[in-house]
Symmetry: C2
Subunit: 227 residues, 2 copies
Amino acid sequence: MTPEVQKIYQILLEKIIALEIEPGTRLREEALSRSFSLSRTPIRDVLKQLEADGLLEIFSQRGSYVSKIDLDGINAIMYIRASVEFDAMVACSNVLTPGDIEEAKRILALQESLLQEEGKDKKEFANAFFAADNAFHSFLYDKAGKGAVLALLNRTYPYYQRFRFLTGYRDKKESENLYEIHKRMLGDLERKDLAALKEDVLAHNYSGLSGIQSVIHDHPDWFLKQE
Amino acid sequence: MTPEVQKIYQILLEKIIALEIEPGTRLREEALSRSFSLSRTPIRDVLKQLEADGLLEIFSQRGSYVSKIDLDGINAIMYIRASVEFDAMVACSNVLTPGDIEEAKRILALQESLLQEEGKDKKEFANAFFAADNAFHSFLYDKAGKGAVLALLNRTYPYYQRFRFLTGYRDKKESENLYEIHKRMLGDLERKDLAALKEDVLAHNYSGLSGIQSVIHDHPDWFLKQE
DNA sequence: AGCCTATAACTTGTATACAAAAATCGTAAA
DNA sequence: TTTACGATTTTTGTATACAAGTTATAGGCT
């Protein structure tokens, strides 16, 4: 993919993840071609990529639709992420220096300041907290020597990112909850309390499910019906 | 992708995974078009898909090459799979009935009979043992209610499958080793010996690394040079 | 009104010509 | 011999016309 086309892919990807383009929305090759002033061929490449990401479903001769959220799949990803994160955090607890702990606390302080800031609109806040959240986890994975593992997890599951936007970042209360869990995790790491760490890692990775019912209520058509 | 094109994708995918098409091999759109009697457009879709799988690298106006094996990436995948498998097997040990254990032993017996059969050529044996290996793990994940998790892991990392072919199935001795680990794992599950289970899960997921040095020696050009 | 059918419109799949960039090759000069 | 340069070839990217299948629509029939 040429850089210009890559950029179009990024634009669509981010809009789908941030739910600006809602699940179920139809994407038309020709309409996109006109709006980006390109022929259908490179646009098709972009749509194929989104399909590979699990964010788009292309039906032959019928149309392409932004995929709905599959809660079974989300559960499977959460299970994977929680398993890996616990192992990585155990490894992390064995190598963290007091200086590292201080640095992690500074990253957390940034999250707190974001929560206390007023006036930011929802989207701006979501993106900022998303970045701060990633920074915290990246730091800990890197310290454990498992930065490549987190990168692989993040790169591999683009539609999990959409789920995180769905519950964690759109609602400030959920973000506060994430922040509290982060604080607890850091305390667990400091005390090397593996039992508490396990509990908090699970709470962290499954936290998105707590507020999901209200989202399902507000937007039932965003979700895949389970058989 | 239309079923016919999907089939072409499967053919190439399997050949790459089975290392019949070696890492570094150049794939030419026009040559493939001619050999499959199709135009370049659908062939390009197939190559794009292989690129998304991490099995092909497409360089603009330069050419497409089957990707070399990235041992760092393989390590990250192994870490993920080992973490998840341990959790899943712990969950499994809590629900396995004596009847389930018997069934698992029957699946293992199939693996043993494959090992004792003579006369099969390497490729045939590799495919058969690969299937038997999958059957064993699928059975246990399913019993733990985590079949979707294993499916996601397998679907998400196609180039890990190639690595398994590289070390686990091409060499009969490695397959014997896998079989021994499977037996131990099943014993651990039966006795609910979590410490031994952890050890054997790790041994299972990292077993591919044991014979890798000789493969690197024989085919140094198959591997990505680490910086 | 309700239903069936045929036609038209729409949407993605495929073929193909051309564009753009990179690699290759040959030639000539140092 | 080596090197530099330019034309040719090679290869993927893009535009576009057409094919094939699906859906929507309109009209007529019961």
